[in-house]
Symmetry: C2
Subunit: 148 residues, 2 copies
DNA sequence: CGAATCATAACTATTGATGTTACATGAAGC
DNA sequence: GCTTCATGTAACATCAATAGTTATGATTCG
């Protein structure tokens, strides 16, 4: 399967929205992301269900952020997207009768569970506000670099 | 993409080989794993390149473990398989010009790097000998349970 | 020689995200 | 009201990588 980049995509979209006054249309966002507006609607639709964004139709419509940037974590976005599988590697058979395979699964499951817990913990610690602040820093740094 | 279960598969195969006297054919292993002998040869071929197993053709041929069980870690097996991507989730674009996307990537990369480091560390700590020992315990436990 | 077995190429199946096209629905402006 | 702009959604094509299958060749041993 292709790599799932929806979390990356919605973060990119949300940060553009945060830096932009007024709503942004799916077409605007699709151009930012280099993709198709339908793809944008699909992913953003999940965030709407989670109450993170809202959409308006018609003239001057589009997407806007309704939640507080400092409250929305990457973890919440991941959950809003339906908690897609994080790992590309896994057990061949989840409920094997074979005792050998049960042994193998137990070892792998343990390792994956620890890595997943750490990843979700990190996701829980990073908010949209953190990313917006980091962006501001990077933006300023780029300006300084240009001026020298 | 389909979930990559090659690490799980070769572990299952190696543990059966460890419990079995003499070489096992690709057909034997395919039956244990519930798959096709060609699939077995494909995965085991990587382990042969890494010097972990050897194969013999002809009568009484098949696969045998050539390395010390206490030396081969899950990490080595993962490496032998070509270090396939561990995560199903990732950045939409690895080298974006857009500063917003760079900000998003940096945050995600950091989190994924930490989780990957932990996972590989765990993989490095678990050897085939550990799994074989765990299997022995499970085997004994099942026997006891039957007898009660 | 002949059977057993690996080696390998070529092809199909699978799976889920991604991309695209088409059309319906609703809101704002004239 | 009509047109335009926008989302909502269905339907289908594309893609990428493993997994599975078939077929054929190459070795080894009795």
């Amino acid at each position: 399967m292709k790599r799932d980049s929806r979390l990356s995509s919605v973060l990119h979209a949300l940060l553009h929205m945060a830096e932009h006054d007024g709503p942004m249309t799916s077409d605007d966002l699709a151009k930012c992301l280099g993709t198709n507006p339908v793809v944008v609607r699909r992913s953003m639709g999940f965030l709407r269900q989670a109450g993170i964004v809202a959409s308006d139709r018609g003239h001057a419509g589009g997407w806007r952020i309704t939640a507080d940037l400092s409250v929305v974590s990457l973890r919440q976005l991941h959950d809003a997207l339906g908690e897609p599988a994080l790992f590309a590697v896994g057990n061949r058979n989840e409920l094997p009768e074979c005792l050998v395979e049960q042994t193998v699964n137990a070892a792998l499951d343990q390792s994956f569970a620890e890595a997943e817990a750490l990843l979700l913990k990190r996701f829980g610690e990073i908010t949209l506000a953190d990313l917006a602040a980091d962006f501001t820093l990077r933006h300023a740094a780029r300006r300084n670099q240009r001026e020298t």
